[in-house]
Point group: C2
Chain length 417, copies 2
């Protein structure tokens, strides 16, 4: 037996996991559905056990309708939503490729950040924070730059705007470009129509409208994009097989995010890649079962009602809602912090008195707006009403003059509208 | 409301998650400790909630003794064990750097694979599969190649060998190299002495000796390595702050795996990066609490007893154990498939009749050996005995002539040895 270093301090074990029961009404993560949390306590399986690969196939089937697609390649990336973004971009984009980013918030900047590290030539078509980019401007930019890939966020929680994507795929196909969409903040809450939009790769996360924990990221890949990616396939040493042939394209710059190997892992080839994160796969599976069991149309309507109610309640308090009304995400609402009110003091009071979390903001909006989410398991009438009532009490306590008792009835009226 | 595409098939919801209760006695993943599975069903928290950042700090404290280190930078990477390997290498290695890989199995090949994509100049010092690399050969290779980084697997499950690492850090420091160790398959089961070995970055996974699910990867980083990594810091657009200054070094090629930003996220700076995978963090925290509660020395002894018992039982059946006895991992044992026996038929019989999974093998060992693990929650006497009894029955059913009833008593005798 090796001896342990006696100089190391004796370890403290802390207590059992026992988090306070916060109501998470920010831009995500949100509280997970209890069925999702319970699914994660199921026993594990070996990664090539037929029961496990059966669950993997079920996950593929369950996420196709969630993404609005018939794409065979619909699966999970083992990491947070950001992992799936990077996997998509590093697998689609060859260093030196021109990539057009449709940029209207922090997560458009994130796309550029990731693309910069990949070595892409980045061009952008931009909107100010709080607006979206008109499709005509996107068409012009595609014509002007001739990009290999067009990359876009669907709902950018930093600005609460949802970029319309009808017609994007047609523009891209006509120009020979592949289209990537980051739907992290909308998947399961607003309609994602990968096939009707004609976009090639769409990724999401569980921790927003799907009502699960962060750590597994659903992805769908068109056959057209899959062909492009398989042309870059490079199976790692030690597991090469006669039935899986390398492509002639430029090798993908990451092993973990090599979508060609990940697709071979999820296919009947069952190429050994990472060890699938089984508990997170159980969670992702249950998220989709909850969403499809409710019905996607009903679920989108529930998110829309929550957003309407939240917005109406905030306005009834005399607050000003941020951004372009016509392109608001249904599941997160930005609202200006009133003059003379300390936004962080209110957030702390919301948490300490009411156990409710609301969000701050990034970049040019930091200190200027709060972001209130109603996503997934929290896109519910009573949670919106509770949040509005609590915010009213905190604002009144801070000396903000507002029409007491107006927010909740306004929200109730807007819910059914 | 957008209409859903009526052409999409109505989604099947499949059943509730209900996996069969397999006993996973392969090279990992293994069954998770029930306390770990239960921890994951705790409610979620916002990522900058003080309760959440408190749990993050506890995780840092809990993993220091697990890694045998006082390193401040001890935390989690959100992905499988392979994610932490790539994060380490992409953050340590600048394209063009010479990296020496200590190569004695499939996971040494994986290190090379990842390094190749990063653009490293790779040199190796090798041992045949089933042996380890003598420290004198490593010293010679360091002297000959002058590497910037030396990368090594501690326990390579593909060959069941554990590379001795005493003195590696001293050699590396003398040569001005940083040392990286992949301890995925040994962390929590064999001693990891990051500080005594003097190595700079060590990574692991939960799904082997720590008895948790795949999907979160502990990592520890020396101050020396952290300084090197922070010199490459490049905070992404949209979240830049005056108190976090970019370094002058070459930007890290990945955003998700940028250890500088991940360290800023885990530090008091709380830089926004990914959304921490909360349920997996709960799991990782509980894995460490279970391990430290048992006591690391007792835990290593239990793994060693399991390995001794498994090896003794296999030999008592007349089977030949694979590889160098002096450098065997305690927690996984390779054994030759006897002549005339179909290895996959036996594995299927083990699974279908006994609900026990044992492992096949990779590369040059595929079809030649089975790999039997006894890791984490499964490194227990009764599970080793059950596995040996089942294997004996399967081999006998397949016509292999063996001394019936010999394996279990041999294993029992070896357990206490």
């Amino acid at each position: 037996m090796p001896e342990l270093d006696p100089m190391l301090p004796a370890p403290a074990l802390f207590g059992e996991i026992d988090p306070p029961q916060r109501l998470l009404m920010g831009p995500g993560p949100v509280n997970a559905h209890p069925r999702v949390l319970r699914a994660m306590s199921a026993d594990l399986l070996g990664q090539f056990d037929p029961e496990m690969t059966g669950y993997m196939n079920q996950v593929m089937a369950l996420y196709r309708p969630v993404f609005g697609t018939a794409n065979a390649w619909t699966m999970l990336i083992d990491g947070t939503a950001r992992a799936a973004i990077e996997a998509s971009l590093v697998s689609l984009v060859v260093p030196g490729d021109t990539v057009l980013v449709i940029n209207f918030g922090r997560f458009g900047l994130l796309l550029q950040e990731i693309l910069g590290r990949i070595g892409a030539r980045i061009v952008t078509v931009d909107a100010p924070w709080g607006e979206v980019v008109p499709m005509a401007a996107i068409a012009e930019a595609i014509a002007a730059y001739g990009p290999k890939v067009v990359a876009c966020v669907h709902g950018d929680t930093s600005t609460t705007m949802a970029q319309p994507l009808e017609g994007l795929g047609e523009l891209c196909r006509a120009a020979g470009a592949l289209a990537y969409v980051d739907a992290t903040a909308t998947l399961g809450g607003m309609e994602i129509a990968a096939d009707r939009w004609g976009v090639d790769v769409v990724t999401g996360g569980l921790q927003k409208c799907l009502g699960g924990p962060s750590g597994s990221a659903p992805i769908t890949i068109s056959d057209r994009a899959a062909e492009h990616i398989f042309a870059r396939r490079h199976v790692e040493q030690g597991i090469r097989r006669d039935d899986i042939v390398d492509g002639a394209g430029v090798r993908i710059g990451s092993n973990y995010f090599d979508l060609a190997m990940i697709m071979d892992y999820w296919s009947e080839k069952r190429l050994n890649h990472h060890t699938e994160a089984t508990s997170m796969l159980y969670a992702a599976r249950e998220c989709a079962r909850v969403a499809l069991g409710e019905g996607l149309a009903a679920r989108f309507a529930r998110h829309a009602a929550s957003g309407r109610a939240m917005t109406a309640g905030l306005r009834a308090m005399g607050l000003t809602v941020f951004g372009d009304d016509a392109h608001r995400m249904t599941n997160v609402t930005g609202v200006y912090i009133p003059a003379g009110i300390d936004g962080e003091r209110v957030r702390t009071m919301m948490r300490e008195h009411f156990e409710i979390e609301i969000g701050s903001a990034f970049g040019p909006l930091q200190g200027k707006i709060w972001r209130l989410g109603a996503m997934g398991y929290n896109a519910m009438r009573h949670k919106v009403l509770i949040t509005l009532g609590a915010l009213e009490a905190c604002l009144a306590a801070e000396g903000f003059v507002l029409p007491l008792g107006a927010a909740v009835p306004a929200a109730l009226a807007a819910w059914v509208a």
